[in-house]
Symmetry: C2
Subunit: 288 residues, 2 copies
């Protein structure tokens, strides 16, 4: 997040607080996160070949983090908002300011076949508004195919440095071609070309196939006035949440879990455990 | 990973390389990872209440990481082993040595109901051997209930600082009571008590319910010679993989993906794209 830290110093950090205004501003969605790339990656160790591994069980069984007491406790009183979208944005913003969190918008996306074979991978949240969470993909990818046959999905943000996680369950729907095209052209040219190069998840004989195709298209679109057309097979999904879970890890394992959900038809709530939040959401605490 | 760095300085880092030995040593499983706790968590920002958010779209649309060229490329020649378990251990070890990765053993676990409603959460890998990946949970948890009705699951490790991910698909099965009990008693007493305190995922009225029960049990088991009995509802699962995917992110989006899988009955492989690995595994490269 070097760029973010830089912008922060310039006072250009994406979020601004409107103390005078209670409306939730989510212009985020159109391009707030379009700026994030797919991960920089620290330098890797050298590749050692044909190594085998042994392990000192005596040493590792001693490896344990110090307990931190109760300073991390997350309780209902700590909610920034009773609207889970606003609560999410508050945590997301905190995560975005932690140096060791390179991509606060990286999320695990779990999809499933109709007959219940799940699959999880990392994707980048590219926007959020009052109606859902947005990401972009190749419609030939496994995730897109599974979402077309079964829109149920589960998203998880895990911000290790804050010992926090947010889980979102909902259904995904495709956004319009116009919205996808607008976002596509907001990406750097190399990313637009990357989307054209890859027929996602298909088997290829070698890395060279990719590099050759990339080189060819980079030449083809080298001039600034040659726009890269969005491939038909590329676009966005919106995940419409029905449940948010905010998880604050505790080092004594008594983790804090606060869930926001919509009520079932004719559901009677137990006022001892379940409270009404904002915008039709109800919230309750779960056992860790 | 402060403890790990400390052990590292003492030359007690869990992995040792046996250059003279080609056997894979996986004593890891019994307790290598039992040492990891559930996350320390950096200090959180103060809780601001009732804030609303705005955002400077001009600024964030400029936020983009520098491209890094092709030095990160991960190709078949970079595989440490043609056995995906050994390849996994090599990457896991590298991740374990990165300071900014606090818990290299944290993994996204996706389960699904029989009718295809997926759910993902973070769990800690607590061991691995040639047959599978181990974790422990409360059998009353949603994940355990879903795995009992539908053992299909998907695991993902995401090591952001290395720009790497490993995805594992397989089926989960319960391990024996004996194995679970042995691991249970290898945990610190406070963690054992934590497992007794929580009836996982049940709704509770307040944090106080947890704290009171925790205090009560901590008193009850205060003396060193009063062991904490493992609750019947707590134990381990083993995930038996049928597929591993090794993902190395590239900053130009042409990510490297190498998949290890077992063949389908009577499957004919295309030798242009698919090669035989070790121990019955085959591997191939996918489009990013």
């Amino acid at each position: 997040m070097a760029a973010q830290r830089f912008l922060s110093r310039l006072g250009l950090f994406p979020f601004r607080f409107h103390n005078t205004c209670n409306k939730l501003h989510l212009q985020l969605r159109t391009c707030s996160l379009a700026g994030f790339s797919s991960g920089a990656g620290a330098s890797q160790g050298p590749h050692q070949s044909n190594r085998s591994y042994d392990f000192d069980s005596g040493a590792i069984s001693e490896m344990r983090k110090a307990y931190k007491g109760t300073t991390e406790i997350f309780d209902v009183g700590d909610l920034v908002s009773k609207d889970p979208f606003k609560q999410f944005l508050a945590w997301f913003e905190e995560a975005s300011q932690v140096d060791s969190i390179r991509e606060a918008n990286a999320m695990s996306l779990a999809t499933s076949t109709k007959d219940g074979i799940p699959s999880v991978r990392m994707v980048l949240m590219k926007g959020i508004d009052e109606t859902g969470i947005y990401f972009y993909t190749n419609f030939q990818s496994q995730k897109a195919k599974e979402l077309e046959e079964n829109p149920n999905c589960s998203i998880m943000f895990y911000w290790e440095a804050l010992n926090r996680s947010v889980r979102v369950n909902g259904v995904a729907e495709r956004i319009s071609e116009e919205e996808s095209t607008k976002y596509f052209h907001s990406r750097p040219k190399a990313s637009q070309i990357g989307a054209c190069v890859s027929l996602q998840s298909q088997v290829i004989s070698s890395r060279k196939v990719l590099d050759d195709r990339n080189e060819e298209l980079t030449k083809k679109y080298s001039s600034d006035d040659t726009p890269v057309p969005k491939p038909d097979y590329w676009g966005g999904f919106k995940v419409i949440p029905s449940r948010f879970e905010f998880w604050q890890g505790q080092t004594n394992r008594l983790h804090d879990r606060i869930v926001f959900r919509k009520l079932q038809p004719n559901e009677e709530i137990n006022s001892e455990t379940t409270a009404e939040g904002s915008n039709g959401w109800f919230y309750e605490r779960l056992m860790p």
